[in-house]
């Protein structure tokens, strides 16, 4: 999308973590498409710079850093406030899933790292945006969880445990930040991104056939849900975990 095609400014500003590509980038695109301005974060400066160029540099800025670094969390919120004067929405999307295999043999330091990046970081960003803007001015938070957080998965157990913790983080923040701030989460199944390649590469048709909707997710599917949960349209929805999975995890029945 070129800058000339962008809509009028909505006046709203979002901070989206882990958004140089994949789901985070898809959410940034969806919010910019309705007139928001965004600050995206991530580890790699080059990828962030490229993403901001594509999103439109008058609508998007970036702050590079590691999600679990408290200094980075504070800097990202501070930079957003400096550039745009507000931070209405926080999307906690940054996540890590570094191991593939049974948790029986999982290195506990890896388990700690997964929790640090996926759960403690999300809390840190929420504390910062609450303090800097949302406590006084309101807004909304969306945590990107996963269907792995509400079911057992054979190879990504540590990730699933951390995502279950994020579901409860969502509930807890929904209580504590009400009524000013609504806090919800989105639980995707497999979305076609670089992050999830191992879950479908080389066998996409086979994996897609197990989804009632007959396809895997795309970042736009999550962008649409995030746009809804950060809009006035969802003004009475808080503490919910919206599963966006093409019906994949409707598997209570005998088949």
């Amino acid at each position: 999308m070129t800058t000339s095609e962008l809509p009028e400014l909505s006046g709203k500003v979002a901070l989206i973590t882990g958004a140089s590509r994949g789901i985070g980038y898809g959410i940034a695109e969806a919010l910019i498409a309705r007139g928001d301005r965004v600050c995206i974060t991530g580890r790699g400066e080059d990828a962030l710079k490229e993403a901001v160029e594509q999103l439109g540099s008058d609508r998007a800025i970036y702050v590079a850093g590691k999600a679990h670094d408290e200094g980075h969390q504070a800097a990202a919120v501070e930079r957003t406030m400096e550039a745009f004067g507000r931070v209405d929405f926080l999307v906690n999307n940054a996540g890590t899933n570094p191991v593939f295999g049974p948790i029986a043999e999982l290195d506990l330091n890896v388990a700690r790292k997964v929790f640090e990046t996926n759960v403690v970081s999300a809390l840190g960003f929420a504390q910062q945006t609450w303090k800097a803007w949302q406590k006084e001015n309101g807004g909304a938070i969306v945590n990107i969880t996963s269907v792995a957080g509400i079911s057992a998965s054979p190879f990504i157990g540590a990730y699933g445990i951390s995502k279950a913790a994020m579901v409860n983080l969502t509930l807890q923040l929904a209580h504590e930040f009400a009524p000013q701030v609504r806090v919800n989460s989105i639980a995707p199944a497999v979305v076609k991104t670089k992050f999830a390649t191992a879950l479908y590469e080389g066998r996409e048709a086979e994996v897609a056939a197990t989804y009632p909707m007959g396809r895997l997710g795309v970042p736009e599917d999550i962008g649409g849900a995030a746009a809804f949960l950060t809009s006035e349209q969802s003004g009475w929805i808080t503490g919910q975990n919206l599963v966006v999975d093409g019906g994949k995890f409707l598997n209570a029945g005998v088949e």
């Binding site: 509930l171 909707m213 849900a225 809804f228 349209q233 009475w236 929805i237 808080t238 599963v243």
Partner: protein
Amino acid sequence: MSTTEQRVAIVTGAARGIGAATAIRLAEEGRAVAVIDLDEAACKDTVEAITAAGGKALAVGCDVSDEAQVEAAIARIAEELGAPTILVNNAGVLRDNLLFKMSANDWDTVMNVHLRGAFLMSKYVQKHMVDAKFGRIVNLSSSSALGNRGQVNYSAAKAGLQGFTKTLAKELGKFGVTANSVAPGFIVTEMTKATAERVGMGFEDFQAAAATQIPVQRVGRPADIANAIAFFTGEAAGFVSGQVMYVAGGPLN
């Protein structure tokens, strides 16, 4: 069907309350809307609100628990508005009572309108959705599905609609049809007004008392539910299926 063609939506129980707000909201989204209620004349206000705003609407009298009436109503809607591909099963009734005082009749009435009604409507509309390779079904559940004193019939029906939703999602997903459920908490409608009367409270006091128990500190309005339904029936929600969303101003599980 090209996406520029106007999609046809059906909202049951749309003479008043959440159903009326939903019919009006879907018309704002560009849908042609069939406004169904028991009495065709009672649909007049909803239809007029839509047409006055430049939208397209049709009033249809139908008892959703009567198979012949449902079949005829869907045929008429397809004829006059076009093939329906969006269905909101909203029609509902209350027959509240404690278990030991509840008549079998009151149990059957509530089951028939909610469950048999949603079943018959979905059964007769699905062919149009499958033909179009597109469909959106939203069933109205309720926070009462989690249990509510004096509503053993209503809460069972609303919990039943959640299972109904998930099964539709599984059966119809491959045809491009999604099915989801919206579960409202306390919404200001004639139905909750009746509940206030049942428990012997003024409606204002009843709302104020409810608001103190809700995290966002206000009671809900029909528009809150209509907005969620607009999302689930929209083009952007095509990968969301089989879900139950509580729209209740706070977390419910």
